[in-house]
């Protein structure tokens, strides 16, 4: 009887232990619905905010800056960018995909920026039958770059699918449009990234519609890792990691020089106005996901006046 009791006890212990472990595992692995926005709003802490300001000032005050950044997010392939920045208005960004292949280059020569791709121009719709395959090659884009008023981060979207969390144009004095909407910055301890001691801060923007985490190196006050959480209809997370950071190094000027080879053609993005509906034209039916009513279709409002207000969060 004692032996039986002991055996039952052991099995009961194993069962309870297994159930507890599995309950904890299921609780930990449950899909995160995201924190409530109100909980995610950060109360400003002067020390943490000073770290954030110092990071920005370090970028702005440097004569030159180069780094390698890798951006990744769940469900999408990682993208690597090699970035060189030099005052007053020079920059170069090379985009490399997960296989190590170069996907595009962005060069700023002081007055203009040039974007070119090794193969087909990715901005041309692959399904556009009006553009033959040979017309998609040997193309470049060119734009004027007034100092402190252009965004390298936005142009990088022409090279790859990800936009850097910190706009490299911060170096040239550009101010991100989100800056006036910062709720606050708070300290989140310290961490060690690639052998460097870092202060971790959390910054929330626009009532936590967006949250940034920065791991700021104590050595050079520049980030080594950043995490961005966007809360809109769903929640998207992106991580950017910096490596090979060099502040104030001598970058040869020929890094910022490029001119189109013979035979290359300038590609000008098509005017979006040409694709707009004309007055009197029948609108195509479409469906959108509503924040609270499931799916709504344009045809649900037939014979009513519909006002489409399109806005961008952040």
């Amino acid at each position: 009887m004692t032996k039986l009791k002991r055996r039952i006890g052991v099995w009961a212990l194993i069962l309870v232990g297994g159930l507890s472990l599995e309950s904890w595992a299921l609780h930990t692995l449950r899909p995160s619905a995201g924190r409530w926005r109100s909980e995610a709003v950060v109360k400003d802490e002067p020390v943490a905010h000073a770290l954030y300001d110092q990071m920005t000032a370090t970028m702005r005050d440097a004569g030159s800056l180069s780094y390698e950044c890798t951006y990744s997010s769940p469900g999408r392939k990682a993208q690597r960018y090699l970035v060189w920045l030099k005052k007053p208005n020079y920059f170069r960004v090379e985009a490399i995909n997960a296989r190590g292949a170069r996907t595009g280059t962005l060069v700023g020569d002081g007055s203009h920026l040039w974007i070119y791709w090794p193969g087909e121009c990715p901005q041309i719709d692959p399904d556009d039958k009006d553009v033959p395959p040979e017309a998609r090659l040997n193309l470049y884009m060119m734009k004027a770059t007034p100092v402190g008023r252009h965004s390298i981060g936005h142009e990088v979207m022409n090279l790859g699918p990800h936009m850097p969390i910190i706009d490299p144009s911060t170096f040239h004095g550009y101010t991100d449009s989100l800056q006036p909407y910062i709720d606050g910055a708070a300290g989140r301890g310290t961490d060690r990234i690639a052998g460097q001691e870092c202060d971790v801060i959390e910054v929330s923007i626009m009532n936590a519609q967006r949250t940034w985490f920065f791991w700021i190196s104590r050595e050079d006050h520049l980030p080594r890792r950043m995490k961005q959480i966007l809360r809109w209809i769903g929640t998207s997370v992106g991580v950017e990691e910096w490596s090979n950071v060099a502040l104030g190094s001598d970058i040869p000027k020929d890094k910022f020089v490029w001119s189109p080879p013979e035979g290359w053609r300038q590609w000008i993005p098509p005017d979006p106005e040409t694709k707009l509906l004309k007055p009197g034209q029948v609108a195509p039916d479409f469906a959108l996901r509503s924040m609270d009513k499931g799916r709504i279709k344009l045809s649900d409002y037939r014979n009513e006046i519909v006002w489409l207000y399109i806005w961008r969060s952040g």
Binding site: E22, A25, S32, S73, K77, E202, V237
Partner: protein, 253 residues
């Protein structure tokens, strides 16, 4: 000695087992050579072919053959506990999986060194996740082979998974805005072999891209590994229970 013999049997019970291992290795190499995949693409290929299809191929008839031939009566004769047969067979399968993945790693490393193309970073995590999935699917398949004759256990599971995956996909996409959608997604995510969870583990999502900060690297990864192992134990437990409860009387079983 008995354990060693039973484990060795899982390698030698059919001539096709060596052929399966060879074919799978060739497939790994060909996929790398022809497509030069990035680590995530190759990892997904490993997860599917090595983590799911390989255990089905190796466990075909693992107990069903002995049941059909009547040899099971000798194997489960007292004083040996019938569950031991199950456990050692499963260990044998797990060892086969580990050996296969180690060889795959070696093959990829050699190909990468020779061709100097693509990348092998993060492949270790994919191999580990594939091995965890291998164990779970092997346990499920071995348990099914207790009740299904001959090699039909693998075929049944393959058809069931394909059907289930299709149904799950349709249900979850149609119920994406309905509260029931979460319940349905949970139903397919947790009791069945954890494809999605292990894919996130292998990609490193738990390590970097959770929503919270501080102590978020290790617990979620441990939870995923723990859940996978517990599922393996649950499937194996069900199989052992079925095996020990069955009465085997001869070749007609």
């Amino acid at each position: 000695m008995r354990a060693y013999e039973l484990i060795k049997e899982t390698f030698l019970r059919r001539r096709s087992i060596a052929v399966i291992h060879l074919i799978w290795l060739v497939l790994y190499g060909l996929f790398w050579w022809l497509f030069l995949p990035d680590p995530e693409e190759y990892g997904r290929f490993l997860l599917l072919w090595g983590g799911f299809l390989l255990p089905l191929a190796l466990s075909a008839g693992i107990l069903g053959d002995d049941i059909a031939s009547g040899r099971i009566c000798l194997l489960v004769t007292k004083p040996f506990w019938a569950g031991e047969l199950y456990v050692y067979r499963l260990i044998g399968l797990s060892l086969q999986g580990a050996m296969q993945f180690l060889l795959a790693a070696l093959l990829v490393f050699v190909l990468h060194t020779v061709t100097r193309r693509s990348s092998v970073s993060g492949l270790g995590l994919w191999l580990f996740a594939s091995w965890l999935l291998f164990n779970t699917v092997a346990a499920l398949s071995t348990s099914v082979s207790v009740v299904i004759r001959r090699v039909h256990n693998s075929l049944l599971l393959l058809v069931t998974f394909l059907t289930g995956a299709t149904v799950a996909q349709i249900l979850i996409s149609n119920l994406s805005n309905h509260p029931l959608g979460t319940v349905v997604a949970g139903f397919f995510r947790y009791p069945f072999p954890p494809f999605e969870l292990l894919r996130h583990l292998a990609k490193g999502d738990y390590a970097r891209e959770s929503l919270s900060l501080g102590g978020w690297r290790i617990p979620t990864s441990i939870a995923c590994v723990g859940h996978s192992l517990i599922l393996t134990v649950v499937y194996a437990g069900a199989g052992i229970l079925l095996l020990t409860r069955r009465q085997f009387s001869g070749p007609r079983d």
